[in-house]
Amino acid sequence: MSGAVLATTTRSGFRASQYLICLYGIVWREALRFVHQRGRFISALVRPLVWLFIFAAGFRQILGVSIIPPYQTYILYEVYVTPGLMAMVQLFNGMQSSLSMVYDREMGNMRMLLVSPFPRWFLLVSKLLASTAVSILQVYAYLVIADLWGVDIPSWGWLTVLPALILCGFMLGAFGMLLSSLIRQLENFAGVMNFVIFPMFFASTALYPLWQVQQSSPILGDVVRLNPFTYAVELIRFALYLQVSWLSLAVVGAMTLVFTAGAIYAYDPARGLLARKGPA
């Protein structure tokens, strides 16, 4: 085992192009893993489709959706739940990404990312972008099937929803990353599913309009209003129909900043939570 002499790194700092190389590398690896883990893609797709094909088909007969913004007419229940299921895809992807970070940390892969000489915040934001890109692919795959199923989506909506998906994907990815810093072992992840993901999804406007929730339980209505996932759903819903929900945009934007800052803090070796816990 001997041979080539390699050049030594001597220059200080990184050029902008090297930051792009690093970002590209992280996104590319996430995409490669996604391609190799076909089960992940299929399960990401099957989950919302089960809701669309079975749950929504059953509920359309018993649940009427009156005319509420952004809709300008009565709509089928399948149409109503579609934005919620799109957000659901992103929520589960964010959590899947979080799960993979815990796994990577246990297996050691995460360390290779964290000992890169690039700034820690940049590495984490790059990982979030990579996870967001994957979630957007999943959402569009779901949308194609929903469209074939008869869910009518405005042609321009396919495009105008993209910025909302980027922002929501980033928010939910950052939330997952923050959670991953708090989870020591994979075994604890089931608790996250029960105590975080399901309540977040069900206590939102993904499945029922706020006014209906409010009518049946004012307290639950307040919980739905306080749930950031509600605003992700509404941001996507309005964007899909070429409108902007400014309140949702503000809440999702603010929560994205809060979760991202929290995740960067948690993974910062100087202040974060990992160093206090000891070797994983």
Binding site: S2, G3, A4, L32, F118, P279
Partner: protein, 262 residues
Amino acid sequence: MTATSALLARPVAADATPLALEVAGVSHAYGARRALDDVSLRVAAGHFTALLGLNGAGKTTLLSLITRLYDTRHGSISVLGHRVDRAPGEALRRLGVVFQARTLDLDITVMDNLLFHAALHGIAGREARRRAAAVLAEVELADRARDAARKLSGGQMRRVEIARALLHGPRLLVLDEPTVGLDIASKWAILRHVRSLVRERGVAVLWATHLMDEIEADDDVIVLHKGRVLAEGDARSVIAHAGAGDMRNAFAALTGTPGGDA
């Protein structure tokens, strides 16, 4: 002078020798449990330095601090003159790391693992491929570049991890118990390769281990026990200082533990 430094056999690096790594007065605790207590040590450029200690001695914690997985809250660590806390980017780009746990992504190919690491150091395209091919050839695994990492044996994975650690041209290589779990042939092949890096390229190596037979007479040795440095110097002087006949007995005398591998 602290109780720790009083036990030093001889400073690893004389003042005139350039230092690849300098750890000064580092302490670290996990809650109430103190893992490192006022640890100071030096690794000279172009030297093979063994960090010898039992499981739980603090080796992995120290390596986590050197690689900035954890922040250094007490004391300082410098890699080739760059403080890890103040200029982490400069320190980390001069450092190659092989962790105790396997860190290859098993789902992607050997080459993709190397290219990912290259990207994490801002290296891409033809240059990244050239370097990846060169380091793979060095560890005699050029023919496995297209294989998924999970198809490699434990020893081959370790060799790929060493190749990856060298890809960005570091001057200091830090390895945390790299031969644990390997068969004898793989173990000695890896040790020979790492020693050749020291001899032929002048790479400084910090080799954390609990296995005495991995240490040679010319190596520098740092004995770490219960979070404290008990002895530091070349192997001969550590053995002489402990009044022992070999490293095994020297370690036992210094740490008050029974003989045998640490």
